[in-house]
């Protein structure tokens, strides 16, 4: 199976947010009660019932007084996925044959460590503390359908296809900067940018925190061989959050 990917072109997006609703419809996610905070952007952040959202960025300049960018954001389906590296529960997060990072709530133990391992601040947790995030419509793409958000997008701002094809498609005039081609082993969500990624709200060089890489490569195998489960879990907690007490961690959230 060839790896699949989404290509996001913010300049083609009209901010209709059909993608936000199509995702909710396919995944049967209830609405959140929101208020207007002086922006069209709503809900203000991803949540357990919101797997993707449009970020609105006003960027007025001499050349374009009303430049307004609409940036679709969701899980990046990293090849080198920080969430999977740190997750101590086998099968809670898994890769599909299309390259999607999907989840199984029945296997998730609710430790929330994946949130610490993700460079893009994606994982959210439902009322039972189970992982909730975009799964690249893993249930649709295995049947040969495109993801709901890509299917509904009226402008082609979200395109779905073979990752290699998407990469060659994205090399169109004016869209020189392809984001995500090599980062973290190659992202499953690529962006065609006209400007620096940070203007669109993305890190120039996304990276998994060092301590999580260390955990994955050195401590995780050691811990499982030599230590009991409880010791391994507290060691892991230390690696992810540092020497904080549980209450402090809660307060920070």
């Amino acid at each position: 199976m060839t790896r699949k990917a989404l290509l996001i072109s913010p300049e083609a997006c009209i901010g209709c947010r059909g993608c936000q609703i199509a995702c909710k419809e396919w995944n049967q996610l209830p609405a959140t009660k929101t208020i207007n905070k002086g922006t069209v952007e709503n809900p203000p952040d991803l949540n357990a019932n919101l797997y993707n959202k449009i970020r609105y960025v006003e960027l007025p300049s001499e050349a374009n007084m009303v430049r307004w960018l609409f940036v679709s954001q969701r899980c990046m389906h990293c090849e080198d996925a920080g969430c999977m590296k740190i997750c101590p529960a086998p099968g809670a997060l898994y890769k599909t044959k299309e390259g999607a990072v999907a989840f199984n709530k029945d296997k998730c133990i609710g430790c929330k460590l994946c949130a610490a391992g993700c460079p893009f601040n994606v994982p959210r947790f439902d009322e039972k503390d189970k992982i909730s995030k975009c799964h690249l419509c893993s249930d649709r793409i295995t049947e040969g359908l495109s993801p709901a958000c890509a299917k509904t997008c009226p402008t082609g701002a979200i395109q779905y296809g073979d990752r290699d094809g998407i990469i060659s498609d994205s090399k169109k005039p004016g869209y020189e900067k392809l984001y995500g081609q090599a980062d973290l082993g190659g992202l499953g969500v690529l962006y065609a940018f006209k400007d620096a990624p940070k203007l669109y709200g993305l890190d120039e060089k996304p990276a998994i925190p060092e301590s999580i890489v260390f955990w994955h490569n050195v401590l995780k195998p050691l811990a499982y061989i030599g230590l009991g489960g409880a010791v391994a879990a507290s060691l892991l907690h230390y690696v992810a959050f540092g020497p904080k007490k549980d209450e402090e961690v809660k307060k920070d959230e």
Binding site: C16, R17, Q20, I21, K24, E25, P30, A31, T32, K33, T34, I35, N36, K37, G38, T39, V40, N42, P43, E58, P60, M65, V66, W68
Partner: protein, 173 residues
């Protein structure tokens, strides 16, 4: 501006008021509508529009929680310049009033609205949707329709109700 005319002399007044001293002849209009264009109480130009999340006044779409999540409340877009003049911050609740009525709206301070320079004076414009109001959400948190502000006059050329350009005041709520 031409001091003799307080309103565009070619607009259609639907209820048949010809001069400043006439009372409305038929029901359906307010004498205020005739006089507001040059009224210092309402110094700002306003316009209305829809949002893509709601259909017309939103009577159908405001029942849908997913649509409400995206577009929950009446807002008014105002320029950074006017916001500074009025001491309004992004996200503040402000009142928009005309000779006809008053609605509250959440201020969206934006570059999409800019003051006009017209005959050496600065003219501010604000804009608000008319997709909120009656019945839903039941707790009234959505606000009212900006159609409460618009006059009952007809465009001079087409006689279509001229609800896209009228005069208002904005104040902190």
């Amino acid at each position: 501006m031409n001091k003799k005319h307080r309103i565009n002399p070619t607009i259609k007044l639907f209820y048949g008021v010809e001069g400043p001293n006439d009372k409305p002849k038929k029901g359906g209009g307010l004498p205020e509508d005739v006089f507001v264009s040059g009224d210092a109480k309402f110094p700002y130009v306003a316009t209305t529009y829809r949002v893509s999340e709601h259909w017309q006044t939103g009577v159908l779409t405001r029942h849908l929680p997913w649509m409400q999540e995206l577009m929950p409340q009446q807002f008014v877009e105002i320029s950074k310049e006017l916001a500074a003049e009025k001491g309004v911050k992004n996200g503040d609740k402000i009142n928009v009033s005309s000779a006809r009525g008053k609605v509250w709206a959440i201020a969206m301070v934006t570059d999409r609205f800019k003051p006009f320079k017209i005959m050496n004076s600065t003219v501010h414009q604000v804009g608000l949707p008319w997709c909120f109001g009656w019945q839903y959400p039941e707790d009234g948190s959505g606000g009212d329709s900006s159609n409460l502000l618009t006059p009952t006059i007809g465009d001079a050329n087409t006689m279509i109700p001229e609800t896209k350009a009228f005069m208002v005041n904005v104040e902190k709520a």
